[in-house]
Every structure is written in C-alpha cells, then in structure tokens.
C-alpha cells in the first residue's frame, strides 16, 4: 500500500496523543514540557504532509513560524521553571498547590 497523506496524518495524531498522555499523566514539570514539545512537533508533521500533498508551500512557512514560537516558548517556560525551583525547591506539580481552592 502506497504511503499517502493519511499515513502521515495517522502518525501525527499518534504522536500528538503520546504527547498529550505525557502532559496528563506525568507529574514532573520538565517532562510535561517535553510532552508539549511532542504535541507541537506532531502538528508540524501534519502541516508538512498537508503542504506536500496539496502542492502548496504555505504549510511549510507555518511550520517555520511554529518552530520559532516554540523556541521562544521554551526559553520563557524554562526560565519560569528555574525561578519556581529557586523559590520552592520542587519541580513537581503535586507540590504546587498554593492556588488550589
């Protein structure tokens, strides 16, 4: 069976679900962040596949912007985690309950 757009889309959704599982089930802030990166990459894969099979380069430009925004997001997010760790000495979501009702 020839590999087509659907193959790439299914792989992308599986990758997205793996990332979502990490975000939902893991308790370490850094691993949650890695799950977020996985989800962004799954979206990138879907966009590149759409771009390829529709003969339209706009999808790849979108991926370029997503990569840039993800890099900025990682820089700010990791700075936040470092600041948080300095104040609370923990990177676990279960220990951060100040805002819990």
């Amino acid at each position: 069976m020839e590999v087509g757009l659907n193959h790439y889309l299914i792989l992308s959704s599986a990758l997205f679900c793996a990332g979502l599982l990490g975000v939902l089930l893991r308790r370490n802030l850094l691993i949650i962040y890695m799950g977020l990166e996985l989800m962004l990459n799954a979206a990138n894969l879907a966009l590149v596949a759409f771009s390829r099979f529709n003969n339209n380069l706009d999808g790849q430009v979108m991926v370029f912007f997503i990569i840039t925004v993800a890099a900025a997001e990682v820089a700010v997010g990791l700075a936040l985690i470092v600041a948080l760790y300095r104040k609370r000495q923990t990177a676990h979501t279960e220990d951060l309950t100040s805002l819990k009702f």
Binding site: L45, F50, L78, H92
Partner: protein, 168 residues
C-alpha cells in the same frame, strides 16, 4: 514496496517508539533519559521531513530543536540537579481516565481522517527548498516574519528578567 515507503515505516515506527519512551520509560525515571529520547524523536521527525521533500525544515528541525531547544532542556535539568525521582504512585483511577480519554481522542481523529476529504490532490511535486521558502517568507509573509522577530526579542528579555536573582 518502494524504498521511500519502507523508509517511512521505519522512521514512523522509530519516532513513535522514542516518543513513547519520552513520556513513559519503564527502565529509567531520570529526566535526562527522557530528554535524550526527545532528541531522537526530533531526529527521526526530520527524516520524515526529508521524505516529504521539506529539506529546509529538516535542517531547521535538527538545528533548532535537536540543537538549541534540547540543549536548553538539558542545561536546565542539570542546573536544577533533579534527582532520580522516586516512583510516585499515580492513582489507578486517574491513569485509567487519562488513557481512556486520550485513546478516545485518537480514535476520533483517525475516524475523522478516514471520513473526511483530506484534499490530497494530484501528484505531489513541490520541493521545500530554501529558495522557494525564503521567497515566500519575504513576500507574502513579510509582516508575520517581522512580528516573530519582535516576539523573539520579547522572549529573550522575559527569560533574562525571570532568571534574575532577586525576583520581586
């Protein structure tokens, strides 16, 4: 089966395997191991980009993700000196609920992929070369391009401000 198809299945399997090892590694709970598997995922994904003829994005994926972003991750992990975390029990209820929810979402997406018209028309013949992408970036997408540069500046200032010692 032709060589690109074979390579697709190879890269797809390896990508999924290493992605699953990022989120749930049965052998090690160390965040560094997860980060290393995330690097592997990025590398295999860039292989998939090459199969999709997106050569520029494949190079950027390696340079920015596997290079810069993951170095930042490893740097922070080692800066925080996160110990081999003790196995905290996740409640079976929440585990089951999360797995069911995500499995349902996956099923939903797959069904909608097969039901919907995904718009794959004709023979794919575009090449994501640097020249084409650069021209598009500096004509149709000039304004978003400039805005992204401002965003990077803001992110840089924010990161420096957040990691100052005496955070007020």
């Amino acid at each position: 089966m032709s060589a690109p198809d074979l390579l697709f299945y190879l890269f797809a399997g390896l990508t999924l395997l290493s992605a699953l090892l990022v989120v749930a590694n049965p052998f090690s709970r160390n965040p560094v191991t997860s980060a290393m598997f995330l690097v592997l995922t990025m590398v295999f994904l860039s292989g998939l980009f090459v199969l999709l003829h997106a050569f520029f994005l494949a190079a950027v994926q390696i340079l920015v993700y596997a290079g810069a972003v993951m170095v930042l991750f490893l740097f922070v992990i080692m800066l925080l000196d996160v110990k081999e975390e003790e196995r905290r029990r996740i409640k079976a209820f929440s585990l089951g609920l999360g797995a069911t929810g995500v499995g349902g979402l996956f099923l939903l997406i797959v069904i909608s992929i097969f039901k919907g018209e995904s718009g794959a028309g004709g023979y794919p013949r575009i090449e994501g070369s640097t020249f084409e992408l650069g021209r598009l970036l500096f004509t149709n997408y000039l304004l978003p391009f400039e805005i992204v540069s401002v965003l990077l500046l803001v992110a840089m200032v924010g990161a420096i401000l957040l990691s100052k010692k005496d955070l007020k």
